[in-house]
Each structure stands twice: as C-alpha cells, then as structure tokens.
C-alpha cells in the first residue's frame, strides 16, 4: 500500500472522520473497512524504520515494524475489528469514533520507534479511552472516568518526565532496552507500571472498566494494559524485579475475584491475574519467556475480549451483571452461554484451548530458569483462574439457581463477534504453530506432551472438585451485593476523610484570621469608598472653579520646580 504510512494514522484519522459518515449502513461499512485497510497496510510494510522526522533536535522514528511490534500490531487489529462488529448496533458517533481512535493510539504506541512518539500516542490513548467510560452518561460513570483519567494522565506525566531525563542523559530517543539505574528509567518504569496495573497501582482498572459502556469495556480490555506489556517487553525485558511483581499480580486478585459480585469486575480482577503471567514472562526475559509473554498477550486479548463480550451481552439484555441477580440464563441465551464457556475454557488453559498453548510457554521458561517458587505460585494462580473465571463466571451468570430472568438471545452481530473470537481461541489451542510462527523469536515448542496435558487436567479437575465441594457444603462465599475494599479504599475514603479533617482545621484557622482581619480591611475599603466611591471626592463631578484651581496649582508647582 502506501509507503511508510503508519497504520495507526489510518485508525486515528479515519476515526476522527466517523461523525461525517452518514449513520446506518454506510457508516457500518466504513467502520468495518478501516481495520481491514490498516491491516493490509501493516501486512505489506516490510520490517524496518519508517517516517523518520527531525524535531526538537532529535531524530524521531515514528514507525518501526519488527518481530515484537508486529505480533502486537496484528492482535490489536483483530481486537479492533472484533470490537467494531460487536458494536455495530450503536448509533453513537462518539463511541464509534473513539472506538477507532483509541485502538489507533494503542497501535501507535506499539509501532513507535522512539520515546517521544511513544509519549504522544500514550497520552492520546489515555485521553481518548476515557470517553468510552463517559459514554455511559451516568454520574457514576462520569466520576469513575475522572478518576481513570487522573491516573492515566499521571502515567503520561511520569512518562514525559522520564523521557526527558533519559534523553538528556543519553541524547538518544530510540525506544530500546532501558534500565532502572537512572531516575529517568525508573520514572518510565512507573509510567508503564501504572498502565500495566502493577499491584498497588492497579485500582484504576477494577474501578473504571466495569463502569464503561457495554461495548466500551470490550474495547478497553484489549489495549491499554497490553500496550503496557509490549512497552515493558521492549524496555525492561529481563528485569528481575518484574518476576516478583508479576507473581504478586497473578496471586492477589484471585481472592478479590472470588468474593466480587459484579461479574465484569470479576473479569477485571482476572485480567490483573493474567497480566501477572505476562509480566513474569517479561521479567524472566529469555527468548522463550518473551515469546510466552507475547503469545499470552495475544491469546488473552481474544479470550478476555470474548468473556467481556458475553458479559456485555448479558448486561445489554438483562440490565445487570451482578452474580446475585443472575442465574439460569442458559435457557434464554444458549449460544452466548456456549461461547462464554469457550472463553472460560480458554482462560483456564484447558487443553485444546488457547491459553494452554501460551501460558505454558511462560511456565516452562520459569521452570527452565529455576524460578521454582515463582513457578509454584503461578501454578496456584492457574488453579485460581479456573476457579473464578472458568467456573464462577459461567456458573453464576448462566446456571446456578434460576433467577427467573427470561430475555432474548444476544443480537446477531454480537454473536458473530463472539463466535469469531471463540474460533480464534480454539484455533490457537488446536494449531498453536500459526501463532508461534509470528512470535518475536524462533520457537520450537510442543505443548501437547502427555505430561503437560495430564498435569493440566489434574489441576483443573481438582480445582473444579474444590469448587463443587465448597458450593455443596455451603462454604463458598455467597454472591452478595457488597462492595469489596481494595487498596483504592485508601485514596477514595481514608485520604479524603483525612484531607477533610485537615481542611476543616485550616478552614477554622483561616476563619479566625479573616475575622480578626475583617475590621481593618473593612476600614480600608470604607476609606477607599469614601474617597473613590461614586459620591467620593475623587469621583464626583467637580465645580469648574475647583478644576481650574487644580490647573493653577499644577502650573505653580511646575514653575517652581523648573525654576529651582
């Protein structure tokens, strides 16, 4: 196609033009065409650097295609295409436009060859994505969006500061391996960490994603965190710290996910858990591990998208995704149920499903490098995933006790999108070779060994058994309408309360200062008013004689002054 044209620009410019395309069939065709065009452009671009510009005295590579960026770019295209199909029922130009601009920005991040370009797309992704939350147009969504935007912009600011320091130290804006030895590197690391939802920096994700629109959450789930994984893989591959961070990430959300009632929020927690696996892969940093991180990101976008889509369909049809209100939906939405089960099986790494072929790369790399403790934790986390995402989601939504809700099956275009995603999940599981072929490094790995399959099946069986026993004995935490206290309780409750107390104290002092100062200030104002007010000496209309007197006074003063 066009030489050196950044596919991200096709998305962004095309997205900006959406409102000008007449609504209805024409716009739907247009929306579907853009990802396809962009994909053709990406596919025909040879590997290398393009669109090199000189600005701020730096050489900026705005488009770089290599093995690592290519695999992310491909899956971003697939995700964008699927989300467009999923959202075909929308008649909201804002969501449709942002639904292309935001993926475009994420694509720009992945294809950025230098840190300055990276920053620009990074911020664009942050700012554009918030509209997907606001598009729900409720007060609650507005506030969640503001909190989300605050965190995202904070990440952008950290990134900018880090980039400036880094470029000053090295005078090299190329986005390559970075280190934590310099302040610049640390700041960039933190910026990536926020987007990647590192533990303690993660709350924005669970806070904001479930508040977005039905389609918005599907779009959001695919890009922001995965582009952060890409950025970490590019900049901090092999950083030991990431192994610890990733392990914690994979572990802690499990407990929250088990007790959470809002099923989209459960998925948000499980997203955190899946990201943990990828972060571990990046931290290990061997070719196998990086392949694993990229492959798992690829698979995760698809199966997590599938799960969010199915929950979105439930939300669309029933108006709720609270586990306590749902149940028995398999009667009304059999196809959605089936597709959701495919997603659940994929995320749980059932043999023949996608995560089985991708997560194992990371586990294998951890084992090879001798990170046994980490390996054990990840194994436990795998069981946990099956528990909360693989069983809990379909169980409470579609089975469990019958809630009596009878609704329509999901709309056809949603079913198509979900089916495509489900096919891809199965495809990766059945023929992992195709995915392995586009991974950053050459890979010779066979997931379907007897040991692997049996270990995994054992793990899953016991996990399922545990769930069954807990449900039967009534020990399993029931689905309650409740709010889970996560770390954000600190900054959404404790800090504001403390700040309010502090403010009240200051306010009291301030009031006292004002009270004591009021009288003198009032006196000054009164004096000013007496002289300058409408009836004051300086403002009222003077008799002509007095005016002339002033002329005489000034003339006399001038004469005296000039004589002396």
């Amino acid at each position: 196609m066009i030489d050196g044209l950044n596919p991200a620009l096709i998305f962004i410019v095309g997205g900006a033009l959406v409102p000008f395309v007449p609504q209805g069939f024409a716009r739907n065709v247009y929306l579907l065409l853009l990802p396809v065009l962009s994909f053709v452009q990406l596919w025909t671009l040879p590997h290398g650097d393009f669109a090199v510009v000189h600005a701020f005295g730096l050489t900026l590579t705005t488009l770089r295609v290599d093995n690592l960026s290519f695999v992310f770019a491909v899956v971003f295209h697939i995700a964008a295409f699927l989300s467009v199909i999923y959202a075909l029922h929308l008649r909201d130009a804002l969501q449709q436009a942002v639904g292309l601009i935001y993926p475009g920005a994420a694509l720009g991040v992945v294809l950025a060859g230098d840190l300055v370009t990276l920053f620009v797309y990074w911020e664009l992704a942050a700012v554009s994505s918030v509209f997907l939350i606001w598009a729900r147009r409720t007060e609650r969504a507005y506030r969640a969006g503001m909190r989300y935007l605050l965190v995202q912009v904070c990440s952008g600011v950290l990134l900018l500061a880090g980039v400036i320091l880094h470029v000053r130290d090295t005078s090299n804006p190329i986005f390559g391996p970075l280190s934590l030895d310099h302040l610049g590197g640390v700041l960039i690391f933190l910026a990536f960490g926020i987007k990647c939802a590192f533990p303690l920096l993660h709350n924005w994700l669970q806070d904001a994603y479930p508040e977005a629109t039905v389609t918005g959450t599907v779009v959001l789930s695919a890009f922001t965190t995965k582009m952060a994984i890409y950025a970490l893989a590019r900049g901090y591959a092999g950083t030991e710290l990431l192994i610890t961070i990733g392990t914690v990430m994979a572990m802690f959300p499990i407990f929250y996910a088990v007790i959470e009632n809002d099923l989209r929020r459960v998925l948000a927690y499980s997203m955190n858990n899946q990201l943990g696996f990828m972060v571990v892969g990046v931290g290990i940093g061997t070719e196998l591990a990086l392949n694993g991180a990229a492959a798992h990101a690829f698979a995760d976008i698809l199966f997590k998208g599938l799960l969010f889509m199915s929950m979105g369909a439930v939300l669309l049809r029933t108006g709720t995704v609270n586990g306590s209100d749902l149940g028995g939906l398999y009667k009304s939405m059999p196809v959605t149920t089936g597709l959701c089960m495919v997603g659940a099986a994929s995320i749980s790494a059932f043999p023949l499903f996608s995560a089985f072929a991708t997560k194992s790369l990371i586990m294998e790399a951890a084992a090879q490098e001798g990170h046994w403790l980490c390996w054990l934790f990840l194994l436990f986390a795998s069981a946990g995933v099956f528990h909360h995402a693989g069983i809990k989601i379909p169980y409470f939504a579609f089975f469990a006790h019958d809630s009596g809700i009878r609704c329509q099956e999901a709309p056809t275009h949603m079913l198509i999108a979900m089916s495509l995603a489900a096919c891809l999940c199965l495809g990766i599981g059945l023929f992992p070779g195709a995915l392995y072929a586009i991974l950053p490094y050459p890979l010779d790995y066979q997931p379907y060994t007897v040991t692997h399959v049996i270990t995994q099946l054992q793990l899953l069986t016991f996990s399922a058994l545990a769930f069954a026993v807990l449900i039967r004995t009534g020990v399993y935490p029931p689905e309650l309408r409740s709010v889970n206290l996560d770390l954000d309780w600190l900054y959404r409750r404790v800090l504001p309360t403390a700040a309010k107390d502090l403010w009240d104290t200051i306010e009291g002092l301030h009031q006292r200062v004002i009270d004591s100062a009021q009288q003198p200030i009032q006196a000054i104002v009164n004096t000013l008013y007496r002289h300058h007010g409408p009836e004051g000496r300086l403002a009222r209309t003077w008799p002509t004689g007095s005016m002339v007197l002033w002329v005489a006074v000034l003339l006399a003063s001038c004469l005296i002054f000039y004589y002396v």
């Binding site: 000013l528 008013y529 002289h531 300058h532 007010g533 409408p534 004051g536 300086l538 403002a539 209309t541 003077w542 002509t544 007095s546 005016m547 002339v548 002033w550 002329v551 000034l554 003339l555 003063s557 001038c558 004469l559 002054f561 000039y562 004589y563």
Partner: protein, 492 residues
C-alpha cells in the same frame, strides 16, 4: 500622490460643510463615511511611504518653510494618523443607528452632527500632520470646539454641563498651549517645528523658555487628561453619545499625547526635557497616582460608561508612565499603548453603545443577564476587557509587556510591580460587568434583542483587531519602536 498630506486634512474639512448643507441625515452619513474611509486609505498610504522612504515634507500652498506652513510626516505622526483615521472610520461606520435614535437633535439638525464629526476629525488629523507650532493650536481649537458640540448632543441632559465644563477646561488648556507657543516664538522668532528644534538650544537657559515649558506641560496635560487635570473627562465621556465617546476616547487624548511627545522630544529634545528639566519627576508620580486613583474610582462606579472613562484616565497614566521612562523600550511601550488603548476603548465603548441602544442606559444593574440576551455584544465586551487587563494573546498584553520590561531596564522594579498590581484592579472592574451580565438572570418582563448588525459588525471588527494585534505585532509594536527611535534620535 504628492498631495496626499494636504488631502489628508482637506478632504474631511471640505466634507464638513457639505454634510451640513445636504440636509438629509442618511446622505450626510454616507458622504462622511466615504470621506473618513478615504482619509484612512490616505493615512495608510502615507505610513507606507514614510516607512519606505523616510520623512515627507510638504509645503502648504508651495510656500517654503519656515515662512509657509510645512506638513512634516515622520514615522511618529504617520502612525498617529493611521490610528486616528482608522478609529474615525470604524466608529463612523457604526454611528448611524445611534445617531438616528439616541442623540438629542431634531431630525433636520442631524446632518450637523456629521459635520461636527468631520470637523473634529479634521482638527485631530491636522494637529498630527502639521509641522508648524501655531498650526497645532489652530487645529486644536477646531477639534476641541467640534468635540464640545458632539458631546453636548448626548441624550442625558447632564451632557450639556459636561460639555460646558469641558469647554472651559479645554479652552484654558488651549490658552496655555498658545501662551507656551507664543513665548517660544518670542525667544526664537520662528513657528516651524524643525526650525524651533534648531534654535531652542541656543536660548535654553532663559527663564522665558522655562516658563514656556511649564505652560506647555500643564496645557498639554489638561488636554490629555493627566491626573489631576482629568476632571473634565469622566462626565464628558459618560454623558456624550456612545459613538462620540468611542471616537474621542480613542483619538482626542491620544493626539494630545502625540503633541506632548512632539513638544518635549522633538522641539525641546529628550536631553533638555528629561535631563535638565527633569520632566520625568513630574510625569512619573502623577502617572502612578492617576493609575491607582482612577482604577479605584472605576471599581466603585455604577455607571459603566463612567467606569470606562475613569479607566481611560488610568490607561493614559500607563502611556505617560512609559513616556516618563524616556528610554527606547519605555517610549515604545507608551506609543504602542496609544494604538492598543485606542483599539480597546473603541471596542468597549462601541459595545456599550450596542448595550445602550437596546437597554437604554449603561447602568450596571441594567446589564443583568445580557450575556444571554446579547451574547455577541457581551462577547466583544469581554474581548475588549481582556485586552484592557492585558491578558496574553490580546493587544493590551503587548504594551503592558514593554512597559514592565522598560521599567525593569531602568531598575525601577517597584514601578514594574505597580503596573502588574494595577492590572488586577482592571480585572476587578471588568469582572463586575461580566458578573452582572453573565451570572445574573435577565429581567423577566422585558425582551432584549441582540444589537443590530450595523453596530455589531464594527464592534466585532475592533474586537478581532484586539486579538489580531495581540499576535501580529509588527504594526503596534514594530512601528512604535521605530517611532520611539525617531523621537529619541537613535537607530531602533
């Protein structure tokens, strides 16, 4: 093309009696309008020629100077001519609806309004263009007498006393100027300015010359409304018709300031005025007190027109402050503010003209809710107000900037601080209008419509000019710098 300097003055001069005899207000307006736009064109051509080729000297009636009257145009007065003729033309464009409905003249006398307007324009242009000191006095009288007439046509009956007071004070000022010029003539035997500039140094130590200097200081100070000689101004501006106020506030005081520049920099020389006579020691304190006092009065005013009149006194203070710095930057600031303040005040007073056209009076409480009922008018007012405050991206910022830089160059940082501080006072009095117009609900029982386009378009042209010259500063700051350099006799 050679006779452009003469045409600049003669065109409006001949137009004035024609307007009077035409007998129909609309015809008179159209004639005056054509003449004023032509004078604007001429002044633009003159400025272009001066910037290209340097000083133009034109001997009136072919009588060579110093005997005959010489018109002498350099970058300073070419720049002034442009300001005066531009404001004159734009304000006149907006004048018709207001003259038709809001001045106190019988219908058959309305052409006389345009005649007076043309005469006033003639006087102001003549004062600016001439190179002859006595000729300055003659044109000063032409412009002053016609401006008294213009002010007295205001609807409010207080316009008559205001015009009367202005007449007394203006006449005293003109007399003082005449006395000053007379004394100079006695000492040097010439009235030609260039000639005077050569001969004054020979007699610079005489008492007579010092007295002439004092009379000129006070006389010009009166005409330009230097604090405390400003007392005629607030009522004259407040009670005159809005178009007249817009025109006079933007041009009359500015031309008086030009006379001050011409007298003290060209005739006496910057060296003599500021080193020997220490004119700055008189001007600087008066300017500062004027800025403070007038701004405070403006804050407490309830008549918005009067508020802006006091604000004009304060703004003149800024110009005088820049001049009293007597440095290239300071003078640039003063001259640039001549231009910018003319734009600002013409915008604001025309916007008030729109308001009083619909609402009746420019009282603060009558402006409640105008942000909703007259959005375009109030938006123009806000732009003018921002420029008055000196917000970046508006033309007012340019002059404030040079002023602060000029003060800092001289090491007078308290002055710089005061300039910034008094800008805050402008924020207060502009905010009072904005608050009433945008945050109070409009009165329920009356319907207020947006002003007619004939008023809105000139107002917006001026408002946009405020923004344009805040970005493109080659005219207001670039030419001002050249003019300052000409006055100081240095290369810019």
């Amino acid at each position: 093309m050679d006779h452009l300097p003469a045409l600049q003055v003669v065109l409006p001069l001949f137009c004035a009696p024609l307007c009077a005899v035409l007998g129909r207000a609309n015809l008179a307006w159209m004639l005056a309008l054509a003449a004023s736009w032509l004078t604007f064109l001429i002044s633009a051509l003159l400025l272009h020629e001066v910037l290209q080729q340097g000083v133009i000297s034109y001997a009136m009636g072919n009588w060579p100077a110093p005997l005959g009257i010489e018109y002498r145009i350099d970058s300073v007065n070419a720049y002034m001519l442009l300001i005066v003729s531009a404001i004159g033309a734009i304000v006149l464009t907006a004048a018709r609806p207001i003259v038709d409905t809001r001045i106190r003249l019988p219908e058959n006398k309305k052409p006389w309004f345009y005649a007076a307007y043309m005469l006033c324009l003639t006087g102001l242009l003549g004062m600016t263009i001439t190179g002859d000191a006595f000729n300055v006095f003659v044109f000063l009288e032409i412009s002053s007498l016609s401006s008294y007439v213009l002010i007295s046509t205001g609807r409010d009956r207080r316009a008559l006393t205001a015009a009367y007071q202005y007449l007394i004070m203006g006449t005293i000022g003109a007399t003082f100027i005449l006395i000053g010029i007379g004394l100079l003539y006695v000492m040097t035997g010439t009235l030609n300015m260039a000639d005077l500039a050569l001969r004054i140094p020979q007699v610079s130590n005489t008492r007579t010359l010092h007295v002439a200097f004092a009379f000129l200081t006070v006389g010009v100070g009166l005409k330009l409304a230097l604090f405390p000689l400003h007392l005629w101004l607030p009522n004259a501006y407040a009670y005159g018709p809005s178009v007249v106020t817009a025109f006079l506030s933007a041009t009359a005081t500015k031309v008086a300031i030009y006379i001050l520049l011409r007298m003290f920099f060209t005739l006496f020389g910057a060296e003599f005025s500021f080193k020997t006579m220490r004119l700055d020691l008189i001007l600087l304190p008066l300017a500062l007190i004027g800025i403070f006092s007038a701004s405070l009065v403006a804050i407490f005013q309830t008549n918005v027109k009067r508020m802006l009149a006091y604000s004009s006194v304060a703004q003149i203070g800024y110009i005088i402050l820049g001049i009293s710095l007597a440095s290239l930057t300071g003078l640039t600031a003063g001259i640039a503010h001549l231009f910018n303040h003319a734009l600002i005040k013409a915008t604001l007073f025309l916007a008030l003209g729109c308001v009083s056209f619909r609402v009746g009076a420019a009282k603060l409480e009558r402006m409640a809710g105008l942000g909703r009922t007259m959005p375009w008018t109030m938006a123009a007012f806000v732009i003018g107000g921002l420029s008055l405050i000196g917000v970046p991206l508006t033309s007012g910022f340019i002059s404030k900037w040079y002023l602060v830089v000029g003060a800092l160059e001289r090491g007078w940082w308290p002055v710089a601080m005061l300039v910034l501080l008094t800008s805050l006072l402008a924020v207060i009095y502009i905010w009072r209008v904005v608050e009433v117009a945008y945050f109070k609900p409009p009165p329920e029982n009356e319907v207020i419509r947006e002003a007619p386009l004939a008023l809105l378009i000139p107002t917006w042209a001026l408002a946009l000019a405020n923004l344009y010259f805040g970005l493109e500063t080659s005219l207001n700051a670039g030419v001002a710098r050249q003019a300052a350099a000409t006055l100081l006799g240095v290369t810019p």
